[in-house]
């Protein structure tokens, strides 16, 4: 059975007809074509599919598309504004916080959600905020540093 849903993705309105069991992740990737959100496990354990739904980070593989009806979704594609990178995106490049890049989208969104609420996080709070985002390449060192640098710059 299909359902007609309305939602905003990165500020743009969408009307989509979706199957009952379609996940928000598959909606974004397969139906809308926003492949910046990654699928690493499809069971809510790796964090690669992290997006922001109505201001909260969620694993989009664990949310049904129909449950996003009437809500606002932010993905990595919506982060840069008018061709200008978000400070977190800048910092991830400058600090060398990116290696294979598969965790990067989710990692940046988790970091953004943290900084949206707390501009003076301690190192432990940063680590906790990205605890659900697995990265096998970087050892997290430069990711944590990039986030703290942005916090320092924005929060003073």
């Amino acid at each position: 059975m299909k359902h007609l849903i309305h939602l905003k993705i990165n500020g743009e309105p969408y009307e989509v007809s979706v199957k009952s069991n379609l996940t928000l992740l598959d909606l974004l990737r397969d139906e809308i074509g926003l492949t910046g959100t990654k699928k690493g496990c499809d069971t809510g354990q790796c964090g690669a599919c992290t997006v922001v739904l109505n201001g909260r980070t969620i694993n989009s593989c664990l949310v049904l598309a129909v449950d996003a009806n009437g809500k606002e979704v932010s993905t990595i594609e919506g982060l840069a504004k008018d061709g200008k990178l978000h400070p977190l995106q800048e910092a991830f490049i400058q600090e060398g916080a990116v290696q294979c890049g598969y965790c990067t989208s989710g990692m940046i969104l988790s970091a953004k959600a943290l900084l949206d609420e707390n501009l003076t996080p301690k190192e432990e709070e940063v680590k906790k905020a990205i605890a659900g985002n697995l990265c096998r390449c970087t050892g997290y060192v430069r990711i944590v540093k990039a986030i703290l640098d942005v916090a320092k710059r924005l929060g003073g």
Binding site: R29, D30, L34, T35, G36, T37, K38, K39, G40, C41, D42, T43, Q45, C46, A48, T75, I76, E77, L79, A80, L85, L88, Q89, F92, I93, Q94, G96, V98, Q99, C100, G101, Y102, C103, T104, S105, I108, E124, V126, K127, K128, I130, A131, G132, N133, L134, C135, R136, C137, T138, G139, Y140, V141, R142, I143, V144
Partner: protein
């Protein structure tokens, strides 16, 4: 020291922008018109004969376009030993082995069809213990092993489950024991772990009307995969095209060899030219892609009272699972390094690579060396303790240096920065400060070879406006190859690095490269692109010399401007040079290859001598909770000899990432195999990898002992960074609470048990 324009500079990664904006394309992002989706039916038995497979019901399901079984794919493949069926033929050898596959209009239909396939098995005894599998009376997992084709260096033992046996002898260990003051005998074991790349494996296969097969695949080595497929299927290379997605989401050795394409291709051959895509689920990645070899390493060492190692014997057993994959060469390479990076007059190594009915083990960051380093570095501290020597001191006394003979005796070592690594690590952590209760410090060092010989080719195309395209088949798996290869081309060619574009590997377009493995890309492909860039530069100079009336040798190029060294006022842009010669338009094309052979005694290709060796040392500081047995890592530090850091930032990224990667298998990662041979914990929830809160304070240090054949002296780094982590932590735990754990992972229960036994002994 010479000042370079970009080599040696920590420039930000060139792929950073694409990756932070979500625009980088990976395999699972690829989608083609008319595409079908594949799924595999996987074995429930660890070892069984297949009596019957019923596929009719699945074939009749609406939306299904093809169903295939092993009967349709009578191929055997594999790099070292050709034992690997695309789909199981007549029997299954591990839980998770693909038996049949379906292509359907979507994944749901494909899954439904898989459930409709019925398999009748006749169970056979499952061999889960490598030592039992080695016994002469053990049932054979591969009855026809004697008929398998294999590399010359591989020595299977007939009528056994041992698919490779290797021995190295230097001096005489028997005499060595007599000449020793003290003997140490210990057995160390490691568990089954997995690479844990966040991107799962995928492939898309499509067959064109002329019968040419194109595969888009998350593989670390497009040309090698094409060769493997060609060898297995008995079709010429021209009928195979392997295309890499622009980016691979992590590798660590897990994405080499035959994997998903061997399921997609048989389906693609039957669906009238439609592409067939298959992406492994995380559970499939755990059970049916690749793991690191569980190992048993018995180490006997004789030492002199002054701490010199006089003789060392290693018996190494690598459990390679159901198929050889790269197991035999993993075992081979590990055995060359099994006694550690030490000057030892008497050495004997026996290595066995053994089949069992478990997931397939193969290449894994370190290629077998983490397992042997776990043994020799743990034992070094046991020895140091007994002799009352400092762990740094005993290592400094024994480690190899420039010009020393390699421990198994085949070659003279060059570019050896190990002492410097140990020194730097010790300095970075204030090694000699007083000990605190329940806290301990530990260190370990190691070295690693690279498969030798292997070859790389590169093409550098200089366009009219000075843009440079570089064609190589090095795959960007996260290691930063795109960035450092571009840096090397820019340096050699004399153009800004921003002008250099790295082309994504495609066997129809980019020239041969052996593999993006073995930490070989900086050295091998680095030399290839440097030579190709030099070729292009010389062609530009030839034209420029005519225009400027100067000798080619007197020309130089910086930032894309060619000028006379004698008359710096005389200069030309690349555009002016190319336009002068080819007004209507043409590119300058530089090309070259690199195929270095290591000098030394060799038993043939990939036997022992290595063109370069990487060296490194790690430090760990821990606190142990004696109530719970929990280990808290407080600090780690690592120093690695990279020859020359082309990009210090990406080098440090490798060191940090490798050290944290190393923490997982040391303290908590373990794939648990159940009684039926099944993986009990095939998920990130039950198989815990290090997450951000697990990381301690980390220091990464670079040592540069230039290699005479390396580009600007550079060697490799990627794999070494994980190697000395486990023994450094184990040594720190022993220093903290006086217990020696010899089997990985070091879980709290093992520490508690050891603490209890220690109390009883007292």
């Amino acid at each position: 020291m010479a000042e370079y324009s970009t080599v040696g500079k920590p420039i930000p990664r060139l792929d950073g922008l694409e990756k932070v904006t979500g625009q980088a394309i990976y395999g699972d992002d690829l989608k083609f018109p008319n595409m079908l989706y594949g799924k595999a039916l996987r074995s429930e038995c660890a070892h069984a004969k297949i009596l019957n497979i019923k596929i009719d019901k699945a074939g009749r399901l609406p939306g299904v376009r093809a169903v295939v079984t092993g009967k349709d794919t009578p191929f055997l493949g594999g790099e070292a030993l050709m034992d690997y069926p695309f789909l199981a033929i007549d029997k299954v050898r591990y839980v998770g082995e693909p038996i049949a596959a379906v292509a359907a209009i979507d994944e749901e239909v494909a899954e439904e069809a898989i459930d409709l396939i019925e398999v009748e098995y006749e169970p056979l005894p499952a061999l889960l213990d490598p030592q039992k599998a080695m016994e002469p009376s053990a049932p054979l997992i591969h009855e026809r092993m004697n008929t398998y084709k294999h590399l010359p260096v591989i020595k299977p033992i007939e009528n056994s489950n041992i698919c490779h046996y290797i021995q190295f002898i230097k001096g005489d260990v028997e005499k060595g024991w007599d000449g020793s003051d003290l003997l140490f005998e210990d057995t160390f074991t490691t568990q089954m772990v997995q690479h844990g790349a966040i991107e799962p494996h995928m492939a898309i296969a499509q067959v064109d009307p002329a019968g040419k097969i194109t595969v888009w695949v998350t593989n670390d080595s497009p040309h090698r995969l094409r060769m493997d497929l060609s060898n297995a299927m008995g079709i010429p290379l021209k009928r195979l095209r392997v295309i890499s997605p622009p980016y691979i989401g992590g590798n660590f050795g897990g994405k080499g060899g035959l994997k998903v394409e061997t399921i997609c291709i048989p389906l693609a051959l039957r669906v009238n030219h439609r592409p067939v895509k298959m992406v492994l689920t995380r559970e499939e990645v755990f059970t049916a892609s690749l793991v690191r070899h569980p190992s048993i390493v018995q180490l006997k060492t004789g030492v002199k009272k002054d701490g010199r190692i006089w003789a060392r014997e290693a018996k190494v057993i690598y459990d390679t699972g159901a198929y050889a994959e790269k197991g035999p060469t993993v075992c081979q390479q590990a055995c060359v390094a099994a006694v550690g990076p030490y000057k030892i007059p008497n050495v004997k190594v026996d290595g066995y690579c053994v089949y069992t009915n478990k997931p397939i083990a193969g290449a894994y960051r370190g290629y077998g060396i983490p397992q042997v380093a776990w043994a020799h570095e743990s034992q070094m501290d046991i020895i140091a303790q007994k002799l009352g020597m400092d762990p740094v001191e005993i290592r400094m006394k024994n480690v190899v240096g420039e010009g020393d003979i390699s421990p198994t005796g085949q070659q003279k070592l060059h570019s050896v920065g190990l002492k410097e690594c140990i020194k730097k690590v010790a300095e970075s952590v204030d090694w000699n400060r007083p000990k605190e209760k329940y806290r301990g410090k530990g260190m370990a060092c190691a070295f690693k070879n690279t498969k030798t010989p292997t070859g790389s080719s590169a093409i550098v195309i200089v366009s009219q406006d000075g843009s440079v395209e570089v064609l190589t088949s090095t795959v960007e798996i996260g290691q930063g190859s795109k960035t450092i290869l571009a840096q090397m081309v820019a340096e050699e060619l004399g153009v800004p690095v921003e002008n250099v574009i790295m082309v994504t590997p495609d066997t129809d377009i980019t020239p041969f490269d052996a593999s993006t493995t073995s930490s070989r890309s900086t050295f091998h492909m680095g030399n290839a692109v440097r030579r190709a860039a030099k070729d292009a530069r010389e062609q530009l100079f030839l034209i420029a010399s005519e225009i400027l009336g100067e000798d080619s040798e007197d020309l130089a190029i910086e930032k894309g401007l060619i000028f006379s060294k004698k008359n710096p006022g005389k200069k030309l842009t690349i555009t002016q040079v190319i336009k002068h010669e080819y007004q209507a338009g043409l590119d300058i094309i530089g090309k070259d290859s690199f195929y270095p052979i290591a000098e030394g005694e060799t038993g043939g290709m990939w036997s022992a001598p290595s063109i370069f060796w990487m060296y490194g040392a790690h430090y760990a500081e821990v606190e142990v909770d004696i109530e719970t047995g929990r280990v808290k890592i407080l600090k780690i530090s690592g120093a690695h000899d990279v020859g020359k850091a082309i990009n210090p930032s990406t080098c440090q990224g490798q060191i940090e990432g490798g050290m944290v990667h190393g923490i997982g298998p040391t303290l908590f990662e373990e794939m648990i195999i159940g009684e039926r041979g099944e993986v009990v914990n095939p998920s990130f929830l039950d198989y815990r990898m290090p997450a951000a809160p697990d990381i301690p304070e980390i220091t990464s240090l670079i040592v540069e002992a230039p290699h005479r054949e390396g580009p600007w002296g550079a060697k490799g780094i990627g794999e070494m960074t994980v190697v000395p982590m486990a023994p450094a932590i184990a040594n720190a735990i022993d220093d903290a609470v006086g217990v020696r754990i010899k089997d990985l992972p070091i879980t709290p229960d093992k520490i508690l048990k050891a603490l209890k036994e220690k109390l009883v002994r007292k």
